[in-house]
């Protein structure tokens, strides 16, 4: 059963996930976002961001009421839609205030050799989980 992000502490590292990008997947993404500008020979930085989120959501469910607060993203080179990529993610920060958790998740998409293709940080907020009984 998939755990909830709400149950994970600061510093939690998600298991590395490998994806093989395909032209079919890239075309599906471009169609979904109606991107008429990115050439078919490459993938957009945001599509790599979507891959990173997919890897994250495969391992931990978003808590009910979760809201995406902010997003940072940097790309380092063009990526072809046939490359193999590795996604790494960790919970970089977790704080609680006024009944809401604010969580920063660090994301990286790298090539097989380990060099980063894209990295970023997603900040989400969600209602604090109820206290667990001792």
């Amino acid at each position: 059963m998939t755990v909830s992000l709400a149950d994970l502490p600061k510093g939690h590292e998600f298991a590395e996930t490998r994806f093989k990008l395909t032209p079919k997947w890239a075309a599906g993404y471009r169609a979904a976002v109606e991107d008429e500008t990115t050439p078919p020979s490459t993938v957009s930085p945001l599509s790599l961001g979507a891959v990173a989120f997919r890897a994250l959501l495969d391992q931990a469910a978003l808590p009910d009421g979760a809201i995406h607060v902010s997003q940072e993203l940097s790309s380092f080179r063009t990526v072809e839609p046939t490359e193999g990529v590795v996604v790494r993610a960790r919970i970089g920060s977790r704080g609680e205030r006024a009944g809401w958790v604010l969580m920063g998740i660090e994301l990286e998409v790298a090539e097989g050799s380990g060099d980063a293709l894209m990295n970023g940080r997603a900040t989400i907020t969600f209602p604090s989980p109820p206290d667990q009984p001792e």
Binding site: A32, T38, S44, P45, L57, Q71, S74, S75
Partner: protein
């Protein structure tokens, strides 16, 4: 005198980037859910979403952000694809039926990069996303 920015198709500080305009509907949100693997019912299940604080489905933030990315690709091509940076806050939600417009303006150069103020608004002028985006300039 206008200061041209090298490596940016002759943009100058203060120039507006070509906007990207998209009309959202539930089908497009569902297609993004398929492509991204994010099947949160807040985005895809109108009956569930009606019970939430939003009162109906909303688009994925990353879908709205993709429109901003397309605007940057349109303006800067490879400079965006191979070395762009984005830092934004989500300030409102986009719903089926909304017209989302991504806009940007070049505001300064910093450390060999052109810095743009960027935002997405809906048809009412509500800000959905705002922040900054950067590309390297040669």
């Amino acid at each position: 005198m206008t200061q041209r920015i090298a490596g940016t198709r002759n943009y100058a500080f203060g120039d507006e980037l070509p906007p990207v305009i998209k009309v959202l509907n539930q089908d497009k949100i569902n297609r993004y859910a398929e492509a991204s693997g994010d099947h949160n019912p807040l985005h895809t299940d109108p009956a569930f979403a009606a019970t939430t604080q939003f009162g109906g489905t909303i688009a994925h933030g990353m879908l709205v952000l993709a429109y901003m990315s397309e605007m940057m690709t349109k303006a800067f091509s490879d400079a965006w694809l191979m070395g762009g940076r984005l830092k934004v806050r989500f300030r409102g939600v986009a719903r089926p039926g909304d017209t989302v417009t991504a806009r940007g303006r070049i505001v300064r150069a910093e450390g060999g990069r052109a810095v743009c103020e960027v935002e997405c608004r809906n048809q009412l002028g509500d800000v959905l996303v705002s922040g900054s985006a950067e590309v390297a300039i040669r």
